[in-house]
Amino acid sequence: MAGGAASGGDATSDAYAPARGWLLLPAWLVLGLVVLVPVFLMLVYSFLTKEFRGGVIWEFSLAAYDQFFIDRGLFGDDPPRIEWAYIQIFWRSIWQAGVATLLCLIIGFPTAYFIATRPAQQRNIWVFLITIPYWVNLLIRTVSMRFILRDQGPLNDFLQWVGVIGEPLTIINTNLGVQIGLFYSYLPFMVLPLYAAIERYNFALSEAAADLYAPRHKILTRVVLPAVKPGLIAGCILVFVPSLGSFLAPDLLGGARNFMIGSLIDEQFKGSAGNWPFGAAASMILLTLVLLVLMVLARQQARAARGAG
């Protein structure tokens, strides 16, 4: 009785198996054409030889990966050492994306909680309000952020007027500028999945926890967060991954010193200074990294989902 209560039907034992194969075909086609084929092309390009005016020569070469990881000096004849320049860019990107994700989480969770606890007919209005700014092009929003955050911008004017600070804060062209930019760009991707998870949350569980002597912070950490964990992980993935590859916010708010992977790759495919195999190789390394992170998170999520039954 107890075992049967939780087990669903066996999905593979029905008579519709052949039909299912055909019905899934469109999904497989889309997945193949827009995901697998481009990734495969990139993989191939990363092992080709670069053509100096952009483009590639169809000749196998490991030069792109060699350039990424190994430093052979200016003229290529020094003893090989580890090339830190690109690894540093990667590390900085991961750090920036991580901070942006954390900021999104800190601001996004209370926002999502607030929306999910409004009366049902008000919730859609709040969700709508959250998404309105995102109808404007990302470039324009990022330029506006630059305007708001600059030394003589409205934010600094306001803070000085209130008296919180005496001198204007320098935000543009710093790590913080990039983090704020990324945070602003991807906040809804955190709020929306979290909102969906919290809306489904059974608030009687919070009452049960309070009834069983849990103070507020324990209710949050012991009951609410585990229950909304799938939404939390989804939100983190949706913010972290695009932040990692982003180039608009780093370019416009971070300046030349706060270069991120996105910009690095972007440059390889622009104009005559580019290096397609190197751009493809950097993309492949980024992709591998992201896949590793996703696999860990997906495993976490599966565990959380199993727990929720």
């Binding site: 107890a2 009452e207 049960a208 009834d211 324990k218 585990p226 727990g307 039954g309």
Partner: protein
């Protein structure tokens, strides 16, 4: 109420308002230690609101609630030595059965090991030890119900609140759980406050019952009081099945009220406070206290015609249209068919009632 110890729960003039809507209108009641106390009423009567006020999930608009003499109305739920069994159990889906039961103890500051040990004992009490490491979703409804019960009892609360805990179970399981709950209450000696809309459940389990309707306390008493001496129309109608007859009181003499029905037939019953001569009120007569006899040539008594006999297992219900214009139900137990006579549909009969069966109701 005369006991030395202060009542387990003492609700004094509690009022609950949501904006303009008054959910509870000045309720006062005392619940004694070790009592199985039931709040009974139809949905929307305020019984769950009152329970949630005692648990601390709803604030008290006016009035006070005392637990063993200590005012608790201002305390948050996690500071009240009171635990709740929720209607849909509200078990933590991500925790094992054992950790669900141990949750309250852990929050009270016990170590996880201690909490688990005690949780294990509680699971033994509700006979679920073999499911300790399952997740709640892997249990049946009845098992989840028992986990919720074990979880609420584990911290040894002074008072256990039960919010329609059996409503999601099927009839047979519900009956078994009623008895199990009653036993558990006796064994643990904890005061139970039980909320239900099921009058049969209330009569079966409770030491005392508070019947509520539209935010007001209608009657407070034990099962027998409430069934046999309903105070008003609502209680008589809500508890069990009854025949309500509109009558006019003719006169009151020596504690007896003489009333008449529309057609002039007169009926006697015990007088109640607040009803004087000339009052138009209702009489409540339980169907099992009526019986049928042959008509007399003089046409005396409450005459009528049998419409239908309905077989309902233990009883047979006879519907009779009285000549004065009411329809009444008469219940004949299948075991007393020899003593009480049944008549075929269409037969002319006289409806008689047992001594003291008619109860005058204050509207």
């Amino acid at each position: 109420m005369s006991s030395e110890r202060p009542a387990a729960i003492d609700v004094r003039d509690a009022v609950k308002r949501y904006g303009d809507f008054t959910a509870l209108k000045t309720i006062s009641l005392s619940i004694q230690d070790n009592e199985f106390f039931t709040l009974l009423g139809p949905s929307g009567c305020g019984k769950t609101t009152l329970l949630r006020m005692i648990a601390g999930f709803e604030d008290v608009t006016e009035g006070a609630i005392y637990l063993h003499g200590k005012e608790i109305a201002k305390l948050p739920p996690n500071k009240r030595p009171v635990n709740t069994v929720f209607q849909n159990y509200a078990l933590f889906p991500h925790l094992s059965v054992l950790d669900n039961v141990g949750f309250g103890l852990e929050m009270l500051g016990r170590s996880r090991t201690q909490a688990r040990a005690r949780a294990g004992e509680m699971l033994e009490l509700v006979q679920l030890s073999q499911f300790a490491h399952r997740k709640p979703a892997q249990l049946s409804g009845g098992q989840q119900q028992r986990v919720a019960l074990a979880r609420a009892l584990a911290p040894q609360p002074k008072v256990l609140l039960l919010d329609e805990p059996l409503s999601a179970l099927d009839l047979k399981l519900r009956k078994a759980m009623q008895i199990e709950l009653k036993h558990l209450q006796r064994e643990t000696g904890i005061t139970f406050i039980f909320v239900t809309h099921d009058q049969e459940e209330a009569l079966t389990m409770s030491d005392r019952i508070a019947v509520m309707s539209s935010g007001e306390l209608q009657q407070l008493g034990n099962a027998r009081d409430i069934y046999e001496h309903p105070r008003n129309m609502f209680v008589a109608d809500f508890i069990g099945e009854t025949n309500l007859l509109a009558v006019t009181v003719d006169r009151i003499e020596a504690g007896r009220a003489q009333c008449h029905l529309g057609g002039g037939q007169s009926l006697g019953c015990d007088a109640v406070e607040g009803v004087g001569a000339g009052a138009k009120v209702h009489l409540s007569i339980r169907p099992e206290r009526l019986f049928l006899t042959d008509t007399t040539p003089e046409g005396e008594g409450l005459t009528g015609r049998v419409v239908e006999n309905i077989y309902i297992g233990t009883d047979i219900a006879s519907l009779v249209d009285l000549d004065v214009g009411f329809r009444v139900t008469i219940r004949t137990s299948n075991s007393e068919r020899g003593a009480k006579r049944l008549f075929e549909p269409g037969a002319q009969v006289v409806v008689n009632m047992e001594q003291g069966a008619a109860r005058l109701l204050v509207d």
